[in-house]
Symmetry: C2
């Protein structure tokens, strides 16, 4: 619903309710500066009896001190009273402007309508209620058919920059009716986040509010064993990867989504370090915007990554077009072909190192005028 937190009057307040206690897990920002909902939320999960999540956009409740913590607690306490559940079993999530207090009066006034309006059909509205500079809602669903029944997965996320303009930023919610232990869900979530939300970049900044919650209600009655568990993990990963992809696709000002794939690295750590450095390089990102197969910038970014490799063994490809072999240019004609591939809205830059067998991927976007425009606008 719209509680008036956003001046625009758009949806800004949402509630996820678990009819029965759910198993809950969470992963949170690694930023030392943590928002009040992050400080509170990470005390409360993992848990075997989560009853819901209270989420808002328009205000991050970050850099708000003790007062901000009390605001979040007060909001959860009132929600618990209305839902008739223990406030400690509710989780908070906020996104929006940093440094401002929650408009608590407005939110408390809106709570009864939020609670009475709860409905499983409203997931799309929830996805809209957590948007800030997002241009579209982000939802991913999967169903797993098992001999013992069906298990459903619903993922909802928001985010359009690692930090949106003064917004604090990425939120994700993965809901399932599978029956899982706390530690099991925690493990699945951590591992899925590592290869999805932790492998994307828009501007290399890390928010004070990043949070992904996973809730497993057990309502399907299906426990997961053997191949069922494997399939579940695969679908869980797919949901996270689809949401992560949607966040990059909606990257602030982005016109292109680019997969950076490092192959043949000495080890996985270095592969990821190199993929991450290339994915975050302003010069590489502006070259993507300019549709310029500017391989010198890619080699320069690899060279400053800290990983060790032989520059004269590197091959580079834009999709399947080779532009560099053993560190040397394949010529203007190859670059012209690569330039044509880069006119597409999605392509892959493959970096083949020939140092070993490790592989890593990052998803990134280009850096356009609009990124600067969106982020340079004065807040008031």
């Amino acid at each position: 619903m719209a509680a008036g937190i956003k001046a625009s009057g758009q949806l800004d307040f949402g509630l996820i309710y678990c009819e029965e206690p759910a198993v809950g897990a969470g992963v949170f920002t690694t930023n030392l500066v943590k928002a009040a909902p992050v400080l509170l939320g990470r005390q409360r999960v993992p848990s075997g009896h989560v009853r819901g999540v209270v989420a808002n956009s328009g205000c991050a409740n970050a850099c708000t001190g003790e007062a901000g913590l009390r605001d979040a607690e007060r909001l959860l306490a009132e929600t618990g009273r209305l839902l008739k559940v223990a406030p400690e079993d509710l989780l908070p999530a906020s996104t929006g402007v940093i440094g401002e207090r929650l408009p608590l009066e407005k939110m408390l006034a809106a709570l009864p309508e939020l609670v009475s309006g709860l409905s499983p059909e409203k997931a799309p509205s929830f996805a809209r209620a957590i948007m800030t500079t997002d241009t579209f809602p982000k939802v991913a669903e999967r169903v797993l058919s098992l001999p013992q029944g069906e298990v459903r997965l619903l993922g909802i996320a928001k985010g359009a920059g690692m930090i949106a303009p003064n917004m604090a930023t990425m939120l994700g919610f993965i809901l399932t009716d599978a029956r899982l232990e706390e530690s099991e869900l925690e493990g699945i979530l951590r591992s899925a986040v590592e290869t999805s939300f932790n492998r994307i970049t828009v501007d290399g900044d890390t928010s004070t509010n990043d949070t992904v919650y996973a809730l497993a209600s057990g309502a399907s009655g299906c426990a997961l064993g053997g191949t069922g568990r494997e399939d579940f993990v695969r679908l869980f990963n797919e949901v996270c990867q689809e949401l992560a992809y949607l966040i990059v696709k909606d990257g602030e000002g982005a016109t292109k989504t680019v997969r950076i794939r490092v192959e043949g690295a000495a080890n996985e750590e270095e592969a990821l370090l190199m993929a991450r450095t290339v994915a975050n390089s302003l010069l590489v990102k502006t070259a993507f915007f300019g549709e310029d197969p500017n391989w010198g910038r890619v080699l320069a970014a690899l060279g400053r990554s800290g990983a060790s490799f032989d520059p004269y063994e590197v091959d580079l490809f834009i999709d399947d077009v080779a532009i560099v072999r053993n560190g040397l240019s394949l010529g203007k004609e190859a670059e012209e072909r690569a330039h044509r591939v880069m006119q597409k809205s999605e392509f892959t830059l493959t970096i083949l190192l020939k140092q070993g067998k490790a592989v890593a991927e990052m998803l990134t976007c280009d850096l356009s005028y609009d990124y600067v425009k969106i982020n340079a606008e004065y807040r008031t």
Copy 2:
């Protein structure tokens, strides 16, 4: 002179000549991908008998393999023959497009004119001959008066991004007629670079060609002892800092030069880490462009820097306007005053941590539409 290396016909070829063997030192890019002139130059200094530097813009001679090394050696050999000095006593420096071979025929054809035209009055032309996307030449001079005579310092640099558009990038030349030992000059240069060229950022990228050479001819006849040496080091540092300042001022697309000053950090390493992270944050840099005292972005950047501090002890200032005290906003009126300060072309962001006594500074610039425009233009 203009040797035709640049298609534009502008100055692109320069020579520094030492009439008597000079003491030479150098510092070079830390990028694993090193250009041919860097690979060659770092074998040749420190040295007690440098006779000159051959420099060009328009072509970085980077990512050119064995052939690129042979090109650079050939160029120095021919220059040595014309100057009647040993080729091993000449140093190379190149800047420009990565991945292309030097146009050696043009350069060899131009060499006799370059050598016969040598003159102490041509330092300004040399400064122009090494420019790429620079919009002005960068020169800094100092004179030190000692009881035993005068010592002169001349610094020349180029650079407009840590990497300019597909250019490989920063070059610096510090010339003096002081009489110094190799190891002494090397120490003075390394220490000066650490607090000047290593404390600036335009886009956080590191070039394949970054090089600073220092040459001390001893022609003044003045050796440096006691306070003379201290004064010399101070002036040497000033020359480097002035050149570094000029590079940021000429940052690609930059409209503002901003000093990031971290005070009260637990130690110098963390102070520098924090200053560097803030100075490189796209969100902070776009906020500078928007003249927005967006302190949430500064705190978020500090928080992801990896340094440890208490967010609720941080004070922030734009010049002398306080906008945050103990991690909390000082309100809209303070931000409005800070916004007015940010309309200037230069200001300081001071971050006061209250964790200890360490201080560090970085010089950075804002991120504007023009940065994207300059770097997104297709090369051909």
